[in-house]
Symmetry: C2
Subunit: 265 residues, 2 copies
């Protein structure tokens, strides 16, 4: 099956998922779409996020993808059920894999979730965790300023530490032992979170779990590509290339090749 | 002339201009469009900002406006010449009025400009100032994190002071005596800027100058509305209403009435 895996995100954060996909499935070709002209999604309404997600999926289908990864927690929480209802192609979000790992990791059944406003307001994490284990206590915190700070490359500035402390300090009182990083930008702030919460709190970054789930789905559906022939990833964005290129390396861990601009999705 | 004045912005910042318009021209009806589904513009490319601005103007023309205010510095700097070339209706931006006031205010001919990345990268301020007076020195600083901080209502937090200091401290060395607030969000941070730069540096907020210019244009074109009959402003946004409503009051200084969502511009 030489068809590519489609991945979309509101912007650049989804590259943390692509990085794990490339590591786990080196034979697979990836087509990425980052909606950089309309980024961010996390401060917008469910209706708008659903509309954008539908358009992004239609764009990826035109690239003849065999499966689609919604590599954005905001879009996964706001739109995944609707997307799954509309399309036949397997669509995988980034919420469930992280939740499974968090439930496995917690000892005291107190889990924290940090995410964008849209994700927190959707109550997706809380509902899904409770559905699996209703005795777990979930503590939510929207962190709207962390995405711009990461996008600006401010991960290691003192102001970022102060703002993250403001968001995370309440978790000390609620005595969580596990924190779900519910936004694809947050893995870049892991060291800051560790400094604030100490090493006792386990940080759950779903990117790797997502890659495992995609491998499982492709295997089940007989869609795995077993031969490494002409693997050439393509990255599309809806805004200009330079800013994306500059920040992409931090997320992907390597230089971006084959980056193209689409004029409208 | 009972037709309304059209005003658009990438989101909520343009309301600082609306506030001054209402004060100076109480007989005029205003139709505002805030593109909250695609906000912010300031981190995006010129091409994308031009595309969005054209779409916004077409939407306002459908509302039968008699003039259009581009109440967004990013859109004014990236798109105004193109917009003026395409449309017959008078279109007024927010750059020139601020520049005129700054040139009038400066004593030592050293002017600072703070704005979004897109505005700074366009070199619009520098070029226009030099065209009027080439002996003036212009010092630019892009401040990409200030918009999200204002939108989150963090104007008076210590982290905002620290981040603003990071951006503004270089102006102390360059000994400016005048600072142009080149983004409609920045007037809400005036007290922070004053704390950092001291009261010796004059802060130029273009909103009031823009209102004067619109009065002038309407007078010249014979479009002024002299009777206060049924003045009922209408506010359109492209994303949901609640978040806009909450923050709008800070910008407008009064509650928003007649707020509506448009599904696509």
């Amino acid at each position: 099956m030489n068809r590519p895996i489609g991945v979309f995100d509101s912007g650049i954060g989804g590259l943390t998922v692509v990085k794990e996909l490339i590591r786990l499935l080196p034979n697979e070709k990836i087509v990425y779409f980052g909606d950089t002209a309309r980024v961010p999604y996390g401060i917008k309404s469910k209706q708008t996020i659903v509309k954008f997600s539908l358009e992004n999926i239609l764009f990826l289908l035109k690239q003849d993808v065999k499966t689609i990864v919604v590599a954005c927690n905001t879009a996964s929480s706001a739109a995944l059920p609707i997307l799954k209802r509309h399309f036949k192609i397997p669509i995988i979000g980034v919420i469930t894999p992280g939740i499974k790992e968090a439930i496995y990791a917690t000892r005291n059944k107190r889990i924290g979730v940090i995410a964008t406003k849209a994700t927190i307001n959707s109550h997706t994490y809380e509902r899904q965790i409770k559905r699996i284990n209703s005795s777990i206590k979930v503590f939510n915190q929207a962190c709207p300023l962390l995405v711009p700070l990461v996008e600006e490359g401010w991960a290691h500035q003192k102001a970022t530490y102060d703002i993250a402390s403001f968001y995370l300090n309440p978790f000390k009182k609620s005595k969580i032992d596990t924190l779900i990083l519910g936004c694809t930008h947050y893995p870049l702030l892991k060291s800051v979170f560790k400094q604030i919460l100490g090493s006792r709190v386990r940080l759950i970054d779903s990117a790797r779990q997502v890659a495992f789930q995609i491998k499982e789905v492709l295997t089940d559906e007989g869609l795995l590509n077993n031969k490494k022939v002409g693997v050439r990833h393509i990255f599309y964005v809806s805004d200009e290339l330079q800013q994306f290129k500059k920040v992409a390396k931090i997320f992907l861990g390597q230089d971006i090749k084959n980056l193209r601009k689409v004029n409208s999705v």
